[in-house]
């Protein structure tokens, strides 16, 4: 049973705690810097990377513009190939559909391929409530599940753990879930992998039902695609009798030709590989080979609302590579849990407030979880302008405005708790729009500069707790200009310093 993101504090409070966790900081720094450098090298190998990136963005945009068409096409091709398609408007819908499908098989256990969509909807908890045990089979997801923990990274869910912690989790928790860890387990990576392999092999061989997500769905043939490194996905997709795939509606691509672009973009961006070890594709069911029953649950859960937003819809291009997390200086220091959803890092900061809305304190704080440094946009393989969307969502938080809510046009109210800031911003704008007032303020600051405190009270403490204030100069620039150049607009003669 995994934990839940419900009731977590707003980003600044959670991050204030995690930035002080020196072990977490060291784990994350090491992991993100390593993968960051490898990605840069893998991408630099391709002379046409920028064109690939533009192609990826263009294919996604075109598909999203005609999403209804491609989804209906997908439904017909999957059905023709022997699959059954289910439509889920939200998380509750999807969980109910999957739970009923598992119940109908009479099984009480399922094996899972790592899947962001099922994390997003909290499927494991819903299944547990129905008395069904879901076993995570991705190594990192297994570590998270055994540790009663939450994923903190899209690609490497246990990135916040180092190998000693993993050894302890395996030693103490594996027995509760099945085959125990071998006696005297060391923290050598090969030993840890072997312990996981032995533990998971029993699950694969016993499983009658597998649950997966998908990286892509090809509309022209009804083919689903899972891209992975460990081979656990291949096991889950081929051994069980029943396969249930829960996939966000934005994962559809029109043709195999389109898929080819993403199969180049994704591995280099995520694991820094030219090609990932396992790419599994399946089209409905095949007699005598693989699952006999295949269900595809197409998940909306806020995606149609996101699509209705002309700026925010770029986020639906995301192929979940996690390159943006690995370059983000905020993610590196705050850790993934502070983002309070299955989607941490920069992509989470723009996706979660669109999928869940901006009404909770946590969700309203996410668009501000960025210094707008732009490193995420630079590495994004589908060119999502994350800083642009962050600022766009900040506006939704403080000003409210029109948005699509569950498929209906609505006017969102500003989030709570911004009244003082709004008043300050308005006052500042007024002063800046009246240079006489600005100048009077500057002069006052200059004349009283000897009396300025070194530490500020109230909200100003957020600055002076860790940083000195700049010294206010004897005169602002505009006074110097007037003194040396007169009121005239142009400079006259040599200036003095």
């Amino acid at each position: 049973m995994t934990g839940t993101y419900l009731g977590m504090p707003a980003f600044p409070e959670a991050a204030a705690v995690s930035t002080k966790n020196t072990r977490l900081r060291a784990n994350l720094r090491h992991a993100t810097h390593t993968i960051r450098a490898k990605r840069a090298a893998a991408v630099a190998e391709l002379a046409d990377w920028e064109r690939l990136r533009a192609a990826g963005a263009a294919i996604k945009d075109r598909t999203l513009r005609h999403l209804d068409h491609y989804l209906e096409r997908l439904e017909s091709t999957v059905t023709a190939a022997g699959g059954q398609v289910h439509w889920a408007a939200d998380a509750e819908d999807a969980n109910r559909i999957v739970t009923e499908l598992v119940r109908a098989t009479g099984e009480r256990e399922v094996v899972k391929v790592k899947s962001m969509a099922t994390q997003e909807i909290g499927l494991n908890d819903a299944l547990a409530e129905a008395g069904i045990r879901a076993y995570e089979t991705d190594l990192a997801e297994l570590i998270v599940q055994l540790g009663d923990d939450l994923p903190s990274h899209i690609l490497v869910p246990a990135i916040h753990r180092n190998r000693t912690e993993i050894r302890d989790i395996f030693t103490h928790r594996m027995a509760r879930w099945g085959r125990p860890a071998p006696e005297g387990l060391t923290d050598a990576p090969a030993d840890l992998a072997e312990a996981a392999r032995l533990h998971l092999r029993e699950k694969f061989l016993n499983a009658k039902v597998g649950i997966s997500g998908a990286n892509f769905m090809v509309a022209e043939t009804g083919t689903l695609v899972v891209v992975e490194s460990e081979g656990n996905g291949r096991m889950c997709l081929t051994l069980p009798e029943t396969l249930i795939s829960v996939v966000g509606i934005e994962k559809v691509v029109p043709t195999w030709r389109d898929l080819e672009v993403f199969l180049q973009l994704l591995p280099r961006s995520s694991t820094a590989e030219r090609m990932n070890p396992y790419t599994s594709t399946w089209t409905g069911t095949t007699d005598g080979d693989g699952p006999r029953v295949f269900h595809l649950v197409l998940l909306d859960n806020g995606r149609t609302d996101t699509l209705a937003d002309t700026v925010g819809r770029q986020a639906l291009r995301c192929i979940r590579c996690s390159a943006c997390l690995n370059v983000c200086p905020v993610y590196e220091r705050a850790g993934g849990h502070a983002y309070g959803s299955a989607y941490p890092g920069p992509i989470g900061a723009i996706l979660t407030p669109q999928l869940r809305g901006t009404q909770s304190e946590l969700d309203a704080s996410l668009p501000y979880a960025s210094s707008l440094c732009g490193a995420c946009y630079e590495v994004c393989p589908v060119a999502i302008d994350i800083p642009e969307i962050l600022v766009h969502l900040r506006e939704r938080v403080v000003e409210g405005g029109p948005a699509s809510v569950r498929g209906t046009r609505a006017v969102i109210k500003p989030a709570k708790g911004h009244a003082a800031e709004r008043a300050a911003m308005r006052a500042a704008r007024w002063a800046l729009d009246h240079p006489g007032v600005l100048r009077a303020g500057q002069r006052l600051a200059s004349r009283t500069r000897r009396f300025h405190p070194r530490r500020l009270p109230g909200p100003g403490r957020a600055w002076t707790d860790t940083r000195d204030l700049p010294a206010v100069p004897a005169e602002p620039f505009r006074d110097w200009w007037q003194r040396t150049h007169g009121d005239g607009n142009r400079s006259e003669g040599k200036s003095t310093t």
Binding site: K20, V330, E388, D468, V472, F477
Partner: protein, 250 residues
């Protein structure tokens, strides 16, 4: 060629020395500089915090203040990027709200003439050796908006490399954000401070006497953090280094 200085609100109020350096430098290079006093702030603090509508009067003010000039030069990568990237967005959003093309037209006039200082030197004046002399060791931190929005590339480094007496020392992790981020510095103070502390440690480790950027707002955060760490490294804006000569050392 009518050239105006856009000093920016932060430099005007807190770093007038940088403004004096820009004027000194440009005049030395034979450029006549104007300073329209109606100018104030580009609106970035408002826009980036989500107050787009509060930004609009400042877009109008910027456009009006500089309408008679061919070039607007500003010693801030961040403020130049605000004009160039965000003014057209503000115009497009106003148009989408049914408020016509006014802001789009003002943005279209402002964008092509707005230059960050080092861009103006290398791209318009086409100089890299500005005749400067600065007998110090310097490490250069490329600030994010100059680096990733303006794509300044190696312009600042080329200018610094041509300064006599200056020794440029490599900054480890140079392209990582310092953690300032405008209101981010107080809204997410813990993360901002953690990023600043790492940046400041990297700067001190270079052994340089000064750290140079094209943005005093980032430098306010870096300098404040360096001082709190007890570091003796001085933050200096690139304009002040380029203004310095053998006859007039800054």
């Amino acid at each position: 060629m009518r050239v105006a200085l856009f000093i920016t609100c932060v430099n005007d109020t807190l770093y007038p020395r940088t403004g004096r350096a820009v004027v000194t430098l440009l005049e030395r290079l034979g450029v006549e500089v104007g300073f329209p006093p109606e100018q104030s702030c580009c609106g970035q603090p408002h826009f980036n915090t989500g107050y787009r509508h509060e930004t609009e009067p400042l877009v109008r003010r910027y456009a009006a203040a500089f309408q008679d000039y061919d070039y607007v030069v500003t010693p801030s990568g961040s403020c130049a990027a605000m004009v160039r990237d965000n003014y057209p967005r503000i115009g497009a959003k106003a148009a989408a709200e049914g408020r016509g093309q006014e802001l789009t037209e003002l943005a279209a006039a402002a964008v092509p003439k707005t230059y960050e200082l080092t861009e103006f030197l290398t791209d318009v004046l086409k100089v890299t050796d500005v005749g400067a002399y600065y007998p110090h060791t310097v490490t250069y931190h490329p600030t994010c908006h100059g680096l990733r929005m303006l794509r300044l590339g190696d312009r600042p480094r080329r200018l610094l490399a041509a300064v006599k007496g200056l020794e440029l020392l490599e900054l480890p992790g140079a392209e990582e954000c310092c953690g300032f981020g405008g209101t981010f510095a107080v809204k997410n103070a813990a993360v901002s401070a953690a990023m600043g502390a790492d940046k400041a440690r990297n700067i001190t480790a270079t052994g340089a006497e000064t750290v140079c950027t094209v943005d005093n707002s980032c430098q306010m955060h870096i300098g404040g953090t360096l001082a709190r760490q007890g570091s003796t490294v001085r933050p200096v804006h690139i304009a002040e280094i380029l203004a310095s000569t053998e006859g007039d050392v800054w």
